[in-house]
Symmetry: D2
Subunit: 389 residues, 4 copies
Amino acid sequence: MINGMKALNRSLRWGMVGGGGTSQIGYIHRSAALRDSNFTLLAGAFDIDAERGRAFGQSIGVAADRCYSDYETMFAAEAQREDGIEVVSIATPNNTHFPICRAALNAGLHVVCEKPLCFTAAEADELEQLCAEKNKVIGVTYGYAGHQLIHQAREMIAAGQLGDIRIINMQFAHGFHHEAVELENASTRWRVDPRFVGPSYVLGDLATHPLFIAETMVPDLQVTRLLCSRQSFVQSRAPLEDNAFVLMEYNNGAVGTMWASAVNCGSMHGQKVRVIGSKASLEWWDEQPNQLRYEVQGEPVRILERGMGYLAASALADDRIGGGHPEGLFEAWSNLYRRFAQAMDATDRDDSAFLQDFWYPGVHAGLTGVRWVEKCVASADAGAVWVDC
Amino acid sequence: MINGMKALNRSLRWGMVGGGGTSQIGYIHRSAALRDSNFTLLAGAFDIDAERGRAFGQSIGVAADRCYSDYETMFAAEAQREDGIEVVSIATPNNTHFPICRAALNAGLHVVCEKPLCFTAAEADELEQLCAEKNKVIGVTYGYAGHQLIHQAREMIAAGQLGDIRIINMQFAHGFHHEAVELENASTRWRVDPRFVGPSYVLGDLATHPLFIAETMVPDLQVTRLLCSRQSFVQSRAPLEDNAFVLMEYNNGAVGTMWASAVNCGSMHGQKVRVIGSKASLEWWDEQPNQLRYEVQGEPVRILERGMGYLAASALADDRIGGGHPEGLFEAWSNLYRRFAQAMDATDRDDSAFLQDFWYPGVHAGLTGVRWVEKCVASADAGAVWVDC
Amino acid sequence: MINGMKALNRSLRWGMVGGGGTSQIGYIHRSAALRDSNFTLLAGAFDIDAERGRAFGQSIGVAADRCYSDYETMFAAEAQREDGIEVVSIATPNNTHFPICRAALNAGLHVVCEKPLCFTAAEADELEQLCAEKNKVIGVTYGYAGHQLIHQAREMIAAGQLGDIRIINMQFAHGFHHEAVELENASTRWRVDPRFVGPSYVLGDLATHPLFIAETMVPDLQVTRLLCSRQSFVQSRAPLEDNAFVLMEYNNGAVGTMWASAVNCGSMHGQKVRVIGSKASLEWWDEQPNQLRYEVQGEPVRILERGMGYLAASALADDRIGGGHPEGLFEAWSNLYRRFAQAMDATDRDDSAFLQDFWYPGVHAGLTGVRWVEKCVASADAGAVWVDC
Amino acid sequence: MINGMKALNRSLRWGMVGGGGTSQIGYIHRSAALRDSNFTLLAGAFDIDAERGRAFGQSIGVAADRCYSDYETMFAAEAQREDGIEVVSIATPNNTHFPICRAALNAGLHVVCEKPLCFTAAEADELEQLCAEKNKVIGVTYGYAGHQLIHQAREMIAAGQLGDIRIINMQFAHGFHHEAVELENASTRWRVDPRFVGPSYVLGDLATHPLFIAETMVPDLQVTRLLCSRQSFVQSRAPLEDNAFVLMEYNNGAVGTMWASAVNCGSMHGQKVRVIGSKASLEWWDEQPNQLRYEVQGEPVRILERGMGYLAASALADDRIGGGHPEGLFEAWSNLYRRFAQAMDATDRDDSAFLQDFWYPGVHAGLTGVRWVEKCVASADAGAVWVDC
């Protein structure tokens, strides 16, 4: 149970790039980072419009002289300060993630970044290498993965409660973009513009979430080949897809499926992961994240509830309130940020023992997603054929 | 509302091949046929063991001299009687469906047959041609398709309530055969033996059900190509699959997916069909057949209930009891048999006007399934590649 | 598994009073009785209009001379025949149940009767006594109670899996009569007319169902006192209630609640029984009768499914098809009629050993309901005060 | 959409009594108050052990000299400071709420207090009068009532979408205290000790929550009389009840029921409110607070989702993230605290126009609960008889 105690005996000095104004994503970053005092917001380049960014920063308590016009200026200026920021969060359009990440690492900062970290496997490799060189952490905000019952699943699978893993079905399939809402809605427009989001829409924007949740649950499996079929049902979105199906084969003989969609009319999120083993299955749904279905063949289905004593210790550690009370996405993000703080602190202390078994979505997780999307797009563009991974 | 009134002003003279003893499938055939007096059971070759079959037939009221040792004898003898059977139902192992169907048609009988009708497209063509020549009906027992809300979906889709159809997701994925239960359980053994079931297990046994439900809902779409990946997680079942995924493309640009599995641990039936259009989606689940989800994008999800006044007339016509009271699979089968009686009677009367728009799973539906399985197996065996349909 | 085998080595000679034409209730009686050949329909006084009744009877295969104008004639005439009926089912308006039951018993017939058997405890006592004198069975069609999972609950409670029983919450609360639909709908009109239904509407028509289900689950408990508050939200129904709440105290210290309503807008049936013990709870809902929730405090909720091997033998005995396939209300009724046949046959054979532990809703169950309604009305009419039972 | 913007152009100077250490309730108070910077935590008497309280206060950033040993000292000292606190939150055992509230109001502070505010109607009247005299706000933390869909219900009911309100069913029935867990668990012990919680357990601790939610949904109704039956299934808890049922009559002819329980084995929270009108019903469940069932008689059930454009403006105003993403209890509390800040600010400004229609759970709401519990206990102790309200 967290109860507001800090994760560390210090609070990390923190800045932001983007996320100003009424940005929904900026708000959830701040909510998560500031919760429990693991981070202190000291600086920011909050907006592409410098004046607006400065006004925003001050409105939330950032000193005027630490509200910067752009990230380069911020990184340079903060590096000069004794009390300069140690960590920066990046909440800007996707196409800027890579250069800002690289600059931040080069400026000696830890990074928290929205996915995707970048658009190509080559960029991904560069970031991973840079993290290693600079001994820095990139925390990737696969926010859903902070929900505790995903970690319950991870424990149960590791303990063999499912038997051999055979099938993983993943989906993130909402209906909000069933028609060309981007014509009227600026906040959707950039999501379907390749200049901002790279080579894919729903594969990158949606599918990488349940993909990472599945990786968290079943960390040992590797995709060996995949096949992707993608569609642009709203034709103006082509070549970006608003719907896609992916078949995957894993190195242990298991198979996987992914359905990503923004045209699944009537569905809210539709993000689900079902892992099927030779004895039992587990299923988690992000719209009811406090429940986990556990289905042993030949026994009644069980519905596990967050916060209950029968869960694994690791699934209880991040609770903020007792079972029965619903926790939501803000808690899941807070759990991530708390873990980012712990990982950054341990990295600063070169505490490799701590880091060895410590779960958080780091640079490698981010890169796995980027590479997976790249393979999917290659498969789809070749006519939905199998490609090796 | 049916209320037990006969569909016709006569009752069809009916016989059975197989389905004797404690056969579960034989029982549901009899329950459905005899309900509401649309058929009268007069003859049978109920068992491969002639004595046992005769004893069984008599126990359920069939005259001793019309309990036959085999179907050939029955067809010949009944053809000699003034009051000989007009229709025969075939409830035998899959590998015998084709010869018995052919013999029945040649003997001038209408047929009710379990799916699959046969194992190859060539056989399928032969049966379809024979039906036309002999002016006979084959009713195929896609039993689930008799549930009324499937026809509500059909009406709503025809009326354009979903807009353009974009995606059809189908699944029939249970967990009952997650391990080699066939070693202990004779009633499962034949299902995984190619000598009895032909070239596939779950594709033919399970997938053809939701495939036909989807065809019923969206009759205009044609699969143009498909790709199938199949697995034998219980290795002793190879080459028959106990799990399969199929991707499909339709002639209107829509895409489809099918998941068939007998190793989906913890799931009871898991038979679902979700049809997604440009405006709305519909979803039906065979374990709760009295409900139909209707999800218009931008509106609250609606859950339609069987028997309610807001449904289409065709979705109310087959009700046997008011809304709220659950109907089950026996009613769905009864609806099919009732329609088989109507189709056979209209065929006898050459009432093509009646038949033109009259829905029932006939020979063509059966053959579509056979062809689809054949294509799936071809795709899978070639390495899960696309094949044209 | 039933599989259509008869319960007995004979088929009971059966007649009906009422239930002709398009009567929904008549149809479900016939469906249930004729299923599996436990009864043979030989006679009837199907309609208050003798001609219409005769026409109906013949249309469903009853001999013309055994289609009678009224029940008195039928009972007299059939008593003269060697092959006269042994059992009669009564599917007439409530106010006629008592005289017809009495006449049938006096005519030496077993009876199947809709609830309520009568309107007063005095009448109830008379019927119970008459059954004993004549050595006859009255089977009461508490149809829902035939669902198998209710018997699973009974077994689990008897085995102590819930611990001491503390609370029983019952409800049957639909919304179909939220306004004065009886003005337009004749089939509702008699239900809210005291001349036909006696001193109550929803208490007698609805509440007695979950009351009996609870009695079936927890047979040992006796209500010691109760308090009933009833309302006529559609005022024209007064003094009959369209909504009622009842509090009950049981002889073991447990408490119970009942909610009966016809004005619960938007609800289909809303028939549920939840039994809470010191260790665990069970909950059953008639709209999804193939599932039973089992909730052990401190463990994940389990959802039991009909037909599964983990159920008690008595909960599997009445299955007609494997788990996963939904059975519905027609099967529940068929289970009752099958048991009625067994009870009647055993009574004819004076097989008291068989009858001792054999469950079916008999005259005593019917009378318990009548007495309970009488107490509820007395409580309500005195201002919703406690009355001893 | 809130997006972290402050509700006011100032941040209220805030202190706490109690809630230190690992207190779960203290944490949710701080999370809610500090979110969005509507309050700044400046002082506290966090613990009955002064040293522990001081250490805790400093650990979360409160200046050492403003960590007080007790509330009297804090109120006196802060009143002397120019920058003294304006508001105090009370998160102490129930029996201390009344004296601390009174002292705080007398010290010129606004108050946020856990329910129950006090134990008797006389105390309640005194607090209400004192608020009026001092022109101060008491915000009562009926935390669940901050969920947005409750306000959607309020709007729909006010707009007549349900027709006349007829029935309100309320429950808060968990199973966590099914046995005497208080023997081992200190955090439960005080809840069942009359010295700390006054004359009731589940009525005060649980029932007042759904009672207030129902008041929020249907503000016009007044309870005119009620009847309460309460039980101590764990006998050592007597005279405090661990289960209770209440029947209520309202001034418009509607009726209500309440079920409060700590022995509802297997249930997590079981907090639900169902409001039934002459046309439609609404149902809300605190474990899935992002959904609201809307059931119009004769139409399919609709499931409304938080964040969707079809909701009322007042149900969207407090959103922090888009629909589909689950918000949880922390957001509901944050909504309350935000509204407390707005009410306090408007009260300071004597902005009665703002306050007139502004919803928040204030002193009157708190007192309604106290009076209701008092009546329930009186009814129960007199043998579960009706008492006027």
